[in-house]
């Protein structure tokens, strides 16, 4: 009843093309923003920030990046963690070597560095596609981690290869507590997510989708294939790079190149598959799901096991978690191949016509 756009007339093109054309959506969106920006920092404890909310936001950003490349432009990539690593380590070096730059600029520059690396490793996409390309992006994954380990310049000659993130200040505010980290990350993620949403529904995004759906046809209607693909690689890597920088500076604090392993690339890929390919919202849902799931499982399984008097040792529990994790992925792929974001859309559609079935 409440969620219905009847009577909301659009009298200008601007009104017709705005991001949230339905008034109820706008209200919901701004309420959500108010909650995450104001209510959450006031009432939530530090543990929740550092264990849950910050990783969710950072991985959402990485998932948005991968979604641009894989979901919108159709180029399957298994190297997102590598681009995150480039972002993290270039942020470290830029802050280290150019301390006079505002840190937010350093982070964005780190994204630009990741974008350049992304373009370099995206070049094969001009010639090859599909799974061949996916394997090719693995080259980025292994090469970047290797290079970061082998050349001590990247880690400022740290003997263990581990970097410790310098303190961050944002417009004079030191970002030193979990709450401040959260708000800082939230600002960046909100702005970048809005940018991504708008890119996706503008000419740029349409070009990506045309290339994804059929690249020959896209070329025939005049979309420059090479430029579009490389653009997708660059923007995607930019997002991953910024996410990597935030991962190092606002979440972990000290990172080594190996933290950005293939497993992390897969995690980001899982997020967009389960969340929904080719949707910005899916990135958030997927990131939430895969951050909450391990915590949830580690609480739930011992509980159930003790209920049935099974005695598992710690190792077995890890293996059961592995199995459930794998089985859940398969389950989601079978039950909802379009991702959880699709469920949200279906729910919205149902709400709109409620109480009628059609």
């Amino acid at each position: 009843m409440l969620y219905r756009e009847a009577g909301q007339f659009k009298t200008s093109y601007a009104a017709d093309q705005q991001l949230l054309p339905i008034r109820q959506d706008r209200i919901a969106f701004f309420t959500l923003l108010a909650v995450v920006f104001v209510i959450v920092p006031l009432f939530v404890s530090d543990y929740w920030f550092s264990a849950l909310l910050i990783p969710i936001l950072i991985f959402s950003l990485a998932a948005i990046g991968l979604n641009i490349l894989t979901g919108y432009a159709g180029q399957l990539s298994l190297g997102s963690a590598a681009f995150m690593a480039v972002g993290a380590f270039s942020a470290y070096n830029i802050v280290l070597r150019m301390p006079w730059l505002p840190q937010i600029v350093s982070f964005l520059l780190a994204g630009v560095c990741a974008a350049l690396v992304g373009i370099a490793f995206g070049l094969p996409s001009v010639r090859i596609k599909g799974f061949y390309l996916a394997v090719a992006t693995l080259a980025a994954q292994f090469f970047v981690v290797w290079a970061l380990q082998k050349f001590p310049w990247f880690t400022n000659n740290s003997s263990s290869g581990v970097i410790s993130a310098q303190g961050v200040t944002f417009f004079g505010f030191p970002i030193d507590s979990p709450v401040r980290n959260y708000v800082f990350v939230l600002c960046i993620v909100t702005v970048l997510a809005l940018c991504a949403k708008n890119m996706a529904r503008s000419n740029t995004g349409r070009q990506w989708m045309a290339v994804r759906d059929m690249d020959v046809a896209a070329e025939v209607i005049g979309i420059p294939l090479m430029r579009t693909k490389l653009q997708a690689f660059a923007i995607s890597s930019f997002y991953c790079g910024v996410a990597g920088a935030l991962y190092a500076y606002c979440y972990i604090g000290t990172v080594e190149p190996e933290a950005f392993s293939l497993d992390m690339s897969f995690r980001v890929l899982f997020m967009i598959i389960v969340g929904g390919m080719g949707t910005i919202m899916g990135a958030f849902i997927g990131a939430t799901f895969f951050t909450v799931l391990p915590i949830f499982l580690s609480i739930l399984i011992p509980g159930i096991a003790s209920l049935f008097n099974f005695n598992f040792d710690k190792a077995s529990l890890t293996y059961i978690e592995f199995m459930i994790f794998g089985a859940l992925i398969i389950f989601f792929l079978i039950v909802e191949p379009h991702g959880l974001a699709r469920l949200w859309q279906i729910g919205k559609e149902k709400l709109r016509i409620w109480p009628f079935p059609h």
Partner: protein, 297 residues
């Protein structure tokens, strides 16, 4: 020169081991178009099952048969519960499902059989062959040669199976065109079961050889990462491609490690095969023996 030869031969022989993993992969990709990331986990699971059964006091031969049975059962279950519900989904979904499968196996294996690192003794000594050592002063491991021989027999057997038997013909038909194969009455699901079963068998052989070489441990899963550049070099759909690709990757990888490695500080092995395969793809996007893909608008 002698050193070069030794490195080259060692590389070629280790390449054979890569080919073994790549082979199981090619079989599945050919027949069902599934990019099976779980092949490495299958290798691990197969080897672990074998060792686990052996540890229960079962004789070697019976353990082999039981492990094979487990792998075939795995193939059947996978077909029924993973592939069949995912028919007609985009390839990326199937790929993701196999990653899920890999996670599942990585958990199931140690859950069933324990997570200790095991050794497998196949009764083949891993020491230089005296003949070559005396005559040419080149150290070639007996084990590597035996592994190469086993791989050769396996490939020849598979080639015969594919070319001469009725099932083999059906497999090739399915690989060519699913719909056409269905329309002439080839049961797709049975074929998939067989293919996953055969891939399980190949995984078992690979698992035994890799396990005997490196020990049966979780690191075995990573062999799939060694097999992927072999695949893109040889082409996803070609059995000879998997072999030739493996040989090329194995030898160049070892040579690069020896001759280029010192210049950049070593550790090339993790990425050099990928870059090599990538450079190759730029010239021939469908791999050495892969089928040329023609797009229609």
């Amino acid at each position: 020169m002698q050193f070069f030869l030794e490195v080259l031969i060692g590389g070629l022989l280790s390449g054979v081991m890569y080919s073994l993993v790549a082979l199981g992969f090619v079989l599945i990709y050919k027949a069902s178009g599934v990019f099976n990331f779980a092949q490495g986990a299958m290798v691990y699971f197969a080897a672990l099952s074998f060792v686990g059964i052996l540890a229960k006091g079962v004789p070697f031969g019976l353990a082999l048969i039981l492990a094979l049975g487990i792998m075939i059962l795995f193939g059947v279950v996978t077909e029924r519960f993973v592939l069949r519900p995912l028919v007609n989904q985009p390839p990326i979904s199937l790929f993701m499902a196999t990653i899920g499968l890999a996670f599942f196996l990585e958990g199931l294996g140690p859950f069933l059989w324990g997570n200790d690192s095991h050794e497998i003794r196949l009764g083949i000594p891993d020491e230089p062959l005296p003949y070559f050592l005396d005559k040419y002063n080149i150290a070639i491991s007996t084990f590597d040669l035996a592994a190469a021989a086993i791989a050769g027999v396996l490939v020849a057997g598979l080639a015969l199976f594919f070319q001469k038997t009725k099932i083999g013909r059906a497999l090739r038909a399915v690989a060519d065109d699913h719909q056409a194969a269905l329309s002439i009455g080839i049961p797709l699901q049975v074929i998939w079961m067989i293919v996953w079963g055969v891939a399980g068998f190949v995984a078992l052989v690979a698992g035994l050889l890799w396990g005997a070489r490196n020990g049966v441990q979780l690191a075995l899963v990573a062999v799939v990462l060694k097999a992927l550049p072999v695949l893109i070099l040889g082409g996803f759909t070609s059995v000879p491609g998997a072999i030739v690709g493996g040989l090329i990757i194995g030898s160049t990888e070892k040579l690069a490690e020896i001759y280029i490695g010192p210049l950049v500080g070593g550790g090339l092995e993790s990425w050099f095969p990928y870059v090599l395969a990538l450079a190759f793809l730029l010239v021939r996007p469908e791999g050495l023996f892969g089928e040329k893909h023609i797009d229609r608008v």
